[in-house]
């Protein structure tokens, strides 16, 4: 094998490709060739590294130097300095927010060093398109052990003992699910993988499928052996073309290596795996709907029982597991259940991947042991709210977990440990792992409205409580955000929530009220100020705010004037500016553009008052 003196791991995940990492790759190859380094330096285009917002990123081994925000223009200099002269380029390294010094090594960056990588064990380390690289990092060792040293019952026992719970949202114990399906006898059984990832604001499954497709396949092979399934399907959203391409390639390679198809590893066990492209309907992530969808029908949930373990896809016993759940399996088999339990808590063992997004400094994918406090994830790994350290800067308001089925957790509960049980106590859920951080410029009533709009839209329409109930609630929230709310609305909303939860057919309806309930519980005063004072203090609901310049703070820099598309801001340079309320459409562009916090947000009535004061201009 070729011995290289340096390995450049350039990220080829969706995020980095969007930040033009393909161009960086071309520039790198060209430069390395030009310098005659082809035999000394190896460039690997890896899957998602997780630190997406800083992309394109690259780590140089053996030193582990981390570079970020690379452009093709940086490459000649980087190759010359780092690879030829051995001087890492400080300018391109990660800098801690607000402190300017560079942090050269990836292991010293807080975003990375507080994480524990199990699911993401290979992130940024292998080329996802090469099975050899997966195998070189203990890949398929778990499968080999499961096939040659263990009986199906033993596999089930290890997974059960590990305490692993489904990462797709419901948190159902995986070992138990396998045991139930294993007990049913049938000529055909199905092992299915849920890669639908419908939660908007979550992208862990996408990253795993793109960065380490073999880890999912290995989990499925082991699962198939445990339950005695000889057919498997991975259900992936059609919106994830790169994931589909890499999974297809990985399946092909696994076939060639004798890990899929007939007589796997010489044990006489057969398992065929194929990919099915979802066609975009949130409810198809629900297990019974997903199976209907694979059968080519409209993906509507059906009532259980019968459970899929008895009658699932094509009426045969089936097990459906989430992508991340499956990626946890191989290490559990290889290292045992005690090893898995060494992290996490009694009831929530192991690690969980979260997609940390929104108003946070370090946006990206993080894997942490279950049971650590939310605060550690947000403040230490995430680096806190973005722009918090500036004068008049932003402050943390809430973190949304569990997407449309989850809820918003306020600052006062940030010490809650992330476990299935503790997060539920707050009214939110762990869900699939989306964690969207909101600051004081986000309006919680609009947020609730946003999720309700989503569920009302995605309700498959089969059962009236979900369909009509979400619509009625959405109408009420629309009224509140438009200034037509009534004082009784808050109580009516809470009552409706109760009805929908208790009478809906599937998880979509049963959880749809959560965003509304939690925002009322923790941010009731925001609802009240929308309803009583007609005032959206965050400046999001257009009919409920007035933008005015604080003359004492305004420096006259003109940023707001440039940002305004309506020509409503006027003023001389270096003198306080003014907003013409007649022209203002409350789009908030000036507020977002101001770096000094000199734009204030008043209630709707203020604007009416100001309009009355200024005599109407006749044209």
């Amino acid at each position: 094998m070729q011995q290289y003196r340096a390995h450049l791991m350039l990220c080829g995940g969706t995020g980095c490709i969007a930040s033009e990492s393909l161009k960086v790759k071309e520039a790198l190859s060209a430069e390395i060739k030009k310098r005659g380094l082809e035999n000394e330096v190896n460039v690997v285009f890896t899957g998602c590294n997780g630190f997406c917002a800083e992309g394109p990123i690259m780590t140089v081994y053996p030193e582990g130097i981390f570079y970020e925000r690379l452009t093709e223009k940086d490459i000649p200099f980087l190759v010359e300095e780092h690879l030829l002269k051995g001087r890492p380029v400080e300018r391109l390294m990660y800098k801690e927010p607000e402190k300017r010094h560079a942090v050269p090594a990836m292991k010293d960056i807080p975003f990375f060093n507080l994480q524990v990588l199990r699911v993401l064990r290979n992130k940024g380390l292998i080329d996802p398109e090469k099975i050899e690289e997966y195998i070189a990092r203990d890949g398929y060792m778990g499968a080999a052990k499961a096939f040659t040293e263990m009986t199906p019952a033993e596999i089930v026992t290890v997974v059960k003992d590990s305490g692993l719970r489904g990462r797709g949202g419901a948190g159902f114990p995986t070992g138990l699910k396998w045991e139930l399906a294993g007990r049913v006898s049938s000529d055909t059984k199905y092992m299915l993988c849920n890669g639908d990832e419908g939660d908007p604001g979550a992208f862990m499954d996408r990253s795993v499928m793109e960065a380490d497709p073999h880890s999912v396949i290995e989990g499925m092979i082991i699962g198939a052996r445990a339950i005695g399934a000889n057919k498997g399907v991975i259900y992936v959203r059609a919106e994830y073309p790169l994931a589909v391409q890499r999974l297809n390639l990985a399946i092909e390679q696994a076939h060639e290596a004798g890990l899929l198809g007939e007589d796997i590893l010489g044990t006489g066990f057969n398992f065929d795996l194929s990919i099915y492209l979802g066609a975009g309907a949130f409810v198809c992530g629900e297990e019974t709907a997903l199976m209907r969808s694979i059968e080519g029908k409209r993906g509507m949930p059906i009532p259980r029982p019968p459970f899929p373990a008895q009658k699932g896809l094509w009426g045969k016993p089936s097990v459906l597991n989430n992508v991340e759940t499956l990626a946890q399996i191989a290490p559990i088999i290889l290292h045992g259940s005690d090893w898995y339990r060494s992290l996490g808590t009694e009831k929530s063992s192991g690690t969980k991947v979260f997609a940390l997004t929104g108003a946070i400094s370090n946006v990206g994918l993080v894997e942490v042991p279950m049971g650590i406090p939310l605060r550690t994830i947000i403040n230490d790994i995430g680096g806190g709210v973005k722009g918090a350290r500036k004068k008049g800067g932003r402050t943390f308001k809430a973190v949304q977990m569990g997407g449309p089925s989850g809820g918003c957790i306020p600052e006062s509960l940030l010490d809650t440990p992330v476990t299935y049980e503790d997060i539920v106590q707050t009214g939110a859920i762990i869900g699939s792992g989306g964690m969207v951080v909101m600051d004081d410029s986000n309006c919680m009533v609009s947020m609730a409205r946003f999720f309700l709009e989503f569920t009302a839209d995605e309700s498959c329409g089969k059962c009236p409580p979900c369909r009509i109930g979400t619509k009625v609630m959405l109408d009420m929230l629309n009224d509140i955000t438009e200034g037509n709310g009534k004082e009784s609305d808050i109580e009516t909303l809470q009552d409706l929530c109760g009805d929908i939860i208790s009478t809906s057919l599937c998880g979509l309806g049963q959880t749809a009220p959560n965003p509304v309930l939690t925002t009322i519980k923790y941010f009731r005063e925001e609802y009240e100020s929308h309803i009583k004072d007609k005032w959206c203090k965050a400046g999001v609901c257009r009919s409920l705010c007035t933008f005015i310049v604080d003359e004492k703070v305004c420096t006259g820099c003109g940023a707001c004037q440039r940002a305004c598309t309506q020509g409503a801001v006027t003023g001389e340079k270096k003198k306080p500016h003014e907003i013409n309320q007649e022209l203002c459409i409350q789009c908030r562009a000036c507020y977002d553009a101001c770096k000094f916090g000199s734009i204030n947000i008043g209630p709707a009535a203020m604007r009416e008052g100001l309009l009355k004061d200024t005599p109407a201009v006749s044209v």
Binding site: T14, G15, I17, A18, S19, C52, A53, G55, E197, G198, D199, P200, G201, A202, F203, R237, A238, E239, P241, Y276, L277, A279, G280, F282, I294, E295, G296, K297, R298, G299, M300, I302, P303, W314, A355, T357, G358, A359, V363, G364, L365, Q400, G434, V436, V437, M447, F450, F451, F454, C460, G461, K462, P464, R467, I468, K471, T565, C587, A589, D592
Partner: protein
């Protein structure tokens, strides 16, 4: 007022007909009624109805046959079932036939108006096949489609993959395409149409040369994607879900592109553009506007 909306009520019990007529007329709908399936078909051949409300158990021709006839001959009419036996199984059966919803008997006026309103909304969303413009579905495309269909012919659950491939070839799924698939796969057009209208991935509208998809997922929402969307709407002078007059761009909104780390995000064709701002919209569009 809703006076342009025609509803046909079919039931063998005069009480039911009377109460439906009373409630729905109050809402401003035009209501006709029939007590037998045959009469209903007669009326439907004469008039165009937006909605059919029908009982299941009737003498002579039963509700199921009437529904099947309507699905086949009047696919643009939405169907709601009035039933005294709302068991899980029977509801599943009628929904499987392509009905939009059901009203259990006895019902309250609010229940009836709610279901009617919603069913009309849904029926509007899935306009009749005939309303769609005949697009650029060339004979070459038809041939390619045929060979694809042949490849999938014996695979169970082949409808969605075939539709995906068809959309890849033609760009959208106009009625001719659905009809060709129907005759080759031996699946009723109504069933194909119901699958196409269920999944957001499928479109029956022709798309522009470039497809712009703007993410309205949570992360993008929090990062104020609305300002980006507004800018696109004003720059292109086009509504969400439509194509510009020069056929250059189609604008659509989606729920999460899985690139939340770069929010707000939009995609033009296969390339993702992250950290969008209204100003960046202009820059990005310029690169596509050059011939």
């Amino acid at each position: 007022m809703q006076k342009d909306i025609n509803i046909l009520v079919v039931d063998d019990e005069p009480v039911v007909i009377n109460s439906c007529e009373r409630v729905l007329r109050e809402e401003g709908y035009n209501v006709h009624s029939a007590m037998r399936g045959k009469d209903a078909i007669h009326l439907m051949e004469e008039n165009i109805y937006n909605l059919l409300l029908t009982d299941l158990k009737m003498p002579e021709m039963d509700g199921i046959s009437l529904i099947e006839w309507t699905r086949k001959s009047k696919p643009s009419t939405g169907i709601v079932v009035i039933t005294g036996y709302p068991s899980q199984q029977s509801i599943q059966d009628v929904l499987g036939l392509g009905c939009i919803d059901y009203v259990p008997k006895p019902f309250t006026p609010v229940m009836l108006t709610d279901v009617t309103y919603r069913a009309l909304e849904l029926a509007k969303k899935t306009p009749p096949l005939e309303d769609f413009p005949v697009g650029d579905f060339t004979p070459e495309m038809a041939l390619e489609l045929n060979s694809i269909i042949n490849n999938y012919k014996n695979m169970p659950g082949n409808l969605i993959p075939v539709l995906q491939k068809a959309q890849e070839i033609v760009g959208y799924l106009p009625p001719e395409v659905q009809k060709q698939i129907s005759s080759k796969l031996k699946v009723p057009v109504a069933e194909i149409h119901s699958v196409v209208s269920f999944y957001s991935f499928f479109t029956m509208k022709q798309r522009g040369k470039h497809l712009i998809r703007v993410c309205e997922g949570t992360a993008c929402y929090v990062k104020r994607v609305s300002a980006v969307l507004d800018k696109l709407i004003s720059e292109l002078d086009v509504k969400v879900g439509e194509m510009t007059t020069d056929r250059k761009f189609s604008l659509e909104s989606v729920r999460c592109l899985g690139a939340c780390g770069l929010a707000p995000v939009m995609m033009i064709d296969q390339s993702t553009h992250g950290a969008m701002t209204p100003m960046k919209v202009v820059e990005v569009l310029d690169t596509y506007k050059q011939p």
